[in-house]
């Protein structure tokens, strides 16, 4: 191992890590924006639930290479293509956890809110979603860590962020970039997870004892 390679490339590595983080945040945020309405629908309308849950889990099994190739004619060789693909893979966890969280709200709580004159939307926004938040956030944490590990597959279309290091190392039989890529991916996952635990605490002060 050529240890000097790592400090020599600190700038490149941090730029790639930042890009990695940006793509992850975008993908998970988009995933939440799509998953929560879908999950609310699945929660409210019983017959929608099965198909929505199945569709997202089937989407999860599509090989990423094929998904990217399908998207290329529309969004080109851009970060958008990568982020859309990554978003698709977050849906299965996010939808499942949101549906579960909403389902676990005790009926008497919901009824009490209705009795107090809350409309359906207000019950959803002020009672159900906040109570479901811990489970939803658990989903967000899993989706985030998963996305961080998946970004590198976008290397097939040149958008792999830290994953670009794997291609470089593979082509040149050069382990240093690969080791740096793996280590930084793990570090990023750790930092993101700790940050999300913090966010969750801030958002749900009542769960703290």
């Amino acid at each position: 191992m050529r240890w000097s390679w790592f400090p020599d490339h600190a700038d490149d590595l941090s730029a790639l890590a930042l890009q990695h983080l940006q793509m992850t945040v975008l993908a998970v945020a988009l995933g939440v924006a799509v998953a929560v309405p879908l999950a609310v629908l699945a929660h409210r309308v019983a017959w929608v639930r099965g198909p929505v849950l199945s569709l997202t889990s089937v989407l999860f099994t599509i090989p990423s290479l094929a998904l990217f190739i399908l998207l290329l004619p529309f969004t080109g060789l851009t970060r958008t293509t990568a982020v859309i693909g990554l978003t698709v893979y977050t849906l299965v966890v996010l939808v499942r956890n949101t549906v579960e969280g909403l389902g676990a709200v005790p009926p008497h709580v919901r009824e009490a809110a209705r009795a107090m004159g809350y409309g359906r939307t207000r019950v959803l926004l002020a009672v159900e979603l906040p109570l479901a938040l811990p489970v939803v956030m658990a989903g967000v944490r899993i989706a985030t860590v998963m996305t961080i590990s998946l970004v590198s597959v976008a290397g097939f279309i040149g958008q792999g962020a830290l994953g670009q290091l794997f291609i470089d190392g593979f082509q040149r039989a050069f382990p240093e970039p690969i080791v740096a890529g793996i280590a930084l991916t793990l570090l990023l996952a750790l930092v993101a997870d700790v940050a999300l635990v913090g966010v969750q605490r801030l958002l749900t002060p009542w769960t703290r004892r």
Partner: protein, 307 residues
């Protein structure tokens, strides 16, 4: 119930696939967005996912920067199948290309073997909006190679000699070699030889080289500018019928960027960019593990293209 909803999910998925797929039947379909006009002095250079191409991208970039262009390099974008459409759609403006492979990409039956003939054919076959600038003397030709041991054992010097061992050797090359002329089809047609099996690897990349070293394959596709050839003492088989085309390096550019200034800069580069120089650069990146960008800039200075 679960099964039913799964089927519903699959059906919905199938619908999405068809809906999105529309008329896209080949991978070469350009993307919908027709490249937005950009400032004339900004250039986005893309490169394929192998190191020599990345280095060449940085050579173009370093030279153009010295001429006042604002250049971005997007290295390791993928294979030609993925990048070519990006050039058409304007995601990138410029790409270091290889004339022989590019011609085959555009015309599977393309047979022009030398640089001038290829350049002429390419002029006619390139899609509108793209322009190939004059080619450099530097070549990165694909050569069919065997190990020294295999060559000695069967007395192999030229592809003609493969007739003697037809059906005995294992061929290792990129997946497309199975179906295209510069591969199994041409070797049978032109040199009358067949192989025991075909092993799908990569285009002269780490898989092919590992397989040849290990003896998993006997005949491999290796790039002539590869720095590992001499280290492993691999033997290139002569190609008297010129089945493998020449592969001169040439810049492929979006027409709106290919003004006189850029063309002149690339002509200056062509005067210096020979196969020997290319091999030197590959040695620096692949064996000494220097960064392609550093190698490119150091080379530009060393040959006096950039002060």
């Amino acid at each position: 119930m679960r099964t039913l909803s799964t089927i519903a999910g699959l059906a919905a998925l199938a619908l999405t696939v068809t809906a999105c797929g529309g008329g896209a039947t080949t991978l070469a379909e350009p993307s919908a967005g027709s490249g937005a006009p950009t400032a004339a002095n900004t250039i986005v250079i893309g490169t394929a996912n192998f190191t020599e191409n990345v280095t060449l991208g940085h050579v173009y970039a370093g030279l153009l920067k010295s001429k006042g262009y604002e250049v971005t390099v997007k290295p390791n974008l993928g294979s030609r199948e993925v990048i070519f459409p990006a050039l058409q759609s304007g995601d990138i403006d410029m790409l270091p290309e290889y004339q022989g492979s590019l011609l085959l990409h555009l015309d599977k039956a393309g047979k022009a073997a030398d640089g001038d003939a290829q350049a002429a054919e390419l002029k006619a076959k390139l899609p509108a909006g793209l322009k190939l600038l004059p080619y450099a003397p530097a070549q990165d030709k694909t050569i069919w190679m065997v190990t020294r041991a295999t060559a000695d054992k069967h007395g192999l010097k030229s592809l003609d000699d493969l007739k003697k061992v037809t059906g005995q050797l294992v061929y290792g090359g990129p997946p497309e070699d199975k179906t295209r002329r510069i591969g199994l089809v041409g070797l049978k047609e032109v040199y009358g030889t067949e192989f025991k099996t075909f092993r799908a690897l990569d285009a002269g990349g780490p898989l092919t080289k590992a397989a040849l070293r290990k003896g998993d394959i006997d005949l491999a596709n290796i790039f002539s500018s590869d720095a590992e050839i001499s280290a492993n003492d691999w033997v290139g088989l002569e190609d008297p019928q010129r089945l493998q085309p020449d592969e001169n390096v040439a810049p492929l550019v979006r027409e709106q960027k290919a003004d006189a200034k850029l063309t002149a800069a690339m002509a200056e580069l062509n005067a210096k960019l020979t196969t020997e120089e290319l091999i030197k650069m590959n040695h620096k990146t692949d064996v000494e593990k220097e960064d392609p960008e550093d190698v490119a800039n150091a080379w530009l200075k060393a040959v006096g293209l950039v002060s």
